[in-house]
């Protein structure tokens, strides 16, 4: 029985390691910031999730204690990864792109982050450069 759990834990750890290295390699391989956002936020959270699930099974089977910390960390990372990705994308948009670079929003209004109210709140240093 222990053999099965050992194989399961080892498989999870190896899958997690491969996911983690693919996520970090995507960070240096992909060409620009917006595409680079894709690699770490998806693959690294899967990698960390795999490690945490493996350690949960390990401590439950071999050390006879069930700890919920791993689940807490997994939940926290899964909740915060999209928020940080959204913040980084927004910061990049306001520093490097203008409304003309964006695709059509297909609604009556444009993109909300470039609207007048948002523009007046922006300090001067982060206003998009108009060519």
């Amino acid at each position: 029985m222990d053999q099965i759990f050992e194989i399961l834990i080892a498989g999870l750890l190896i899958a997690a390691g491969i996911f983690g290295i693919v996520g970090s390699f995507g960070l240096i391989k992909l060409p620009e910031t917006m595409t680079r956002l894709h690699a770490p936020t998806k693959a690294s959270t899967l990698g960390v999730g795999g490690v945490l699930v493996a350690s949960m099974i390990y401590f439950f089977v071999f050390e006879d204690k069930l700890s919920w910390h791993e689940l807490l960390i997994t939940l926290f990372i899964f909740l915060t990864a999209p928020i940080t990705a959204n913040f980084i994308a927004k910061a990049y948009m306001h520093r490097n792109l203008t409304p003309k670079d964006m695709p059509e929003s297909n609604t009556a209004r444009g993109w909300a982050t470039y609207e007048d109210e948002a523009e007046t709140q922006e300090p001067l240093m982060t206003k998009p450069k108009r060519p």
Partner: protein, 89 residues
């Protein structure tokens, strides 16, 4: 078998950490650097949990939880500073 798997995963995440460090030094913009630092925090959490597994104590989960929280807060603070020029208005 688990020892070898832990060693393999540690090597993978350590290499990932080196890639992130390279990206921090060779970034094309400040948002890129923030993204690389955020990924570094995630890799360090994985390394901490792996070390806790290999030693066999649960103490390192607290450290990992703290790292997750401070990493999230620092990334959001960086982005807020880039966007607005101020963190708390």
């Amino acid at each position: 078998m688990i020892t070898f798997a832990i060693a393999f995963a540690s090597i993978c995440f350590g290499l990932g950490l080196l890639f992130n460090l390279w990206r921090v030094f060779n970034a094309s913009g400040v948002t890129d650097r923030v993204l690389a630092l955020d990924t570094m925090v995630i890799n360090i959490i994985a390394l901490l949990v792996l070390y806790g597994m290999s030693v066999g104590t649960g103490v390192y989960f607290e450290a990992a939880l703290l790292f997750a929280m401070t990493g999230f807060v620092s990334t959001v603070a960086y982005c807020k500073f880039i966007l607005r020029g101020d963190i708390i208005e």
